[in-house]
């Protein structure tokens, strides 16, 4: 039973014990276990992605009050779970086209890099109580810099495919990616301020009270920023099917397109994971200490919850134009993020450091709530003025 309690970690230990028994020198043993761990960690997202795609299409269907993948086509399997595998096979068999005049090297490397970065994010996410790829003391900051890494892949894809639309879409998505990095970084800064350290495990440890309760406004900011970086519905002008045919990976087909497609979903999953780690308390939950393996279960539950939230945003809000997206960021999100950082910092200062986490969370909650009220007030006034101007303009017409 003991073994089951902390299943994954124990498996790892068992494997290491197995290797130690062989006559390999110590460093090599260490190297191999590390490599095996990394491989396992990499496989996790790749495997879960299949389930995740199915899960997402089911939710989308439910929201759109339709069935989604089901066994109608005889090969869907119960509730259509094989649908995703069918798509995958289709993806592999499709002909892999390289456009004429395309920059061959850049064109081919782009999808691989995108997928690589999508997987690299998981190295830092805390999956369970003692279970994390590597507890970097710059954890969250590593994630942010990876985000900036993904911009490069977008450029390469857009440029490599030697297609005006692709280049235009690449420029657009770069613009959104770069501009949304700022509110994302600032909201992460707030979380780090409360948690007191950059490493993910410390953040999870600091969340006696889930940061979503302590920092609702910051959570909203982070969510908005990640949504735009994912290129999903409210901000998904990048691959808006009707306007610019499927964004910067328009020229890709076959396995390369598959990589982009999977990478996109993986980013979404990772975003949900980060969101749950930062704001929902990661793998913390009741009885985690007694049965460590429960922590991973708690984490998956929270990830599914946050995916639900993300899907909810995606499939209810209409698509925004590029200038609206950027205006939303520069005129609303970034100033709000800045003010939020100051507000929480000030609130933090009012409470003596010795106060328990609860009071700290309470104070920052108070700051966030006050800030939200003010913002809503401003928005209301601005809205009314806009309406009046509109009315007067019509009147004078």
């Amino acid at each position: 039973m003991e073994f089951l309690k902390n299943l994954i970690v124990n498996v790892g230990l068992w494997f290491q014990g197995l290797l130690a028994s062989t006559s390999l020198p110590e460093t090599w043993v260490l190297a191999i276990t590390r490599a095996a761990g990394a491989l396992a960690l990499a496989l996790v997202p790749l495997v879960t992605i299949f389930f995740f795609i199915w899960y997402e299409r089911k939710i989308v269907a439910r929201i759109g009050s339709r069935l989604g993948p089901n066994n109608s086509g005889a090969y869907g399997g119960p509730w259509g779970i094989f649908q995703v595998f069918a798509d995958a096979i289709k993806m592999f068999t499709k002909e892999d086209v390289i456009p004429a005049g395309a920059d061959r090297w850049v064109f081919n490397v782009a999808p691989m890099l995108t997928l690589a970065i999508a997987v690299m994010i998981w190295a830092v996410l805390p999956l369970g109580k003692g279970l994390i790829g590597i507890d970097l003391n710059i954890g969250i900051f590593y994630l942010l810099s990876l985000g900036s890494g993904s911009i490069v892949t977008v450029v390469m894809a857009g440029w490599g495919s030697n297609n005006k639309y692709a280049l235009l879409a690449a420029f657009r998505s770069i613009a959104t990616l770069i501009s949304y990095e700022i509110p994302k970084a600032l909201s992460v800064l707030v979380v780090v301020m409360l948690a007191g350290s950059l490493s993910m495990q410390d953040i999870v440890a600091a969340q006696d009270v889930a940061f979503l309760l302590a920092l609702p406004l910051t959570a909203f900011l982070f969510l908005a920023a990640t949504l735009s970086e994912l290129g999903r519905r409210p901000f998904d002008l990048v691959e808006a099917d009707s306007e610019i045919v499927a964004g910067y990976f328009v020229e890709y087909s076959g396995i390369k397109f598959g990589m982009f497609y999977v990478a996109q979903f993986m980013n979404q999953l990772a975003a949900a994971a980060i969101f749950s780690t930062l704001f929902l308390g990661g793998w913390r939950g009741p009885w985690v200490d007694q049965v460590p393996v429960l922590s991973t279960l708690w984490l998956t539950a929270k990830i599914l919850l946050s995916v639900l939230i993300i899907q909810f945003f995606q499939y209810t809000l209409p698509r925004l134009r590029i200038d609206q997206v950027l205006a939303f960021n520069w005129k609303f999100l970034t100033p709000l993020a800045l003010v939020n950082v100051c507000a929480v910092a000030l609130a933090g200062k009012t409470v003596p450091a010795s106060a328990g986490p609860l009071t700290q969370a309470g104070i920052s909650l108070g700051a966030n709530v006050v800030l939200t009220l003010i913002v809503l007030g401003i928005l209301a006034i601005a809205g009314r003025q806009a309406r009046q101007r509109e009315a007067s303009r019509l009147a004078t017409q």
């Binding site: 920059d103 710059i138 590593y142 900036s148 450029v155 390469m156 950059l198």
Partner: protein, 165 residues
Amino acid sequence: MTLQQILFILVGAITLGAALMVVTRRNVFHAALFLILSFFGVAGLYVLLEAPFLAAMQLFIYVGGIAILIVFAIMLTREVMNPAAPGANRQWGSALLVAVALCGVLGWMALNHDWKVTPGPVSADSMANLGKALVDPQGFVLPFEVTAVLLLITFIGAVTIARER
């Protein structure tokens, strides 16, 4: 040859190789991509030198910021550069000579001078006191603020220069 040294050689090779490609490639866009690769290499180097914050900073600023800026610049001035023309100008020969000579001298100096190395473990909270030093009045708060002002002025200047009249 410890694991770390092997890694160092690997990362060093990547960085230097990319740098050489940056300098030699005729197609400027490829040069930019290799520049990004060398930035990654340098980030790896920082990780080996146990300065994780700087590695992340390097990625964040150079790869996320400057590389993109350079790529944008290349795209905006693409049609002006006819790819047929040779990458290097007439004085590349002498430039190569000077570069190699300088590299030789520096390298020789590096190897022949004992740098009185005082190895020691990196303090655990090196990043924390880095942050503190940046805003501590006795520490570096003045240069920090001056840099902020410098950046502000630069960006305003850059915008006004490059703005279409």
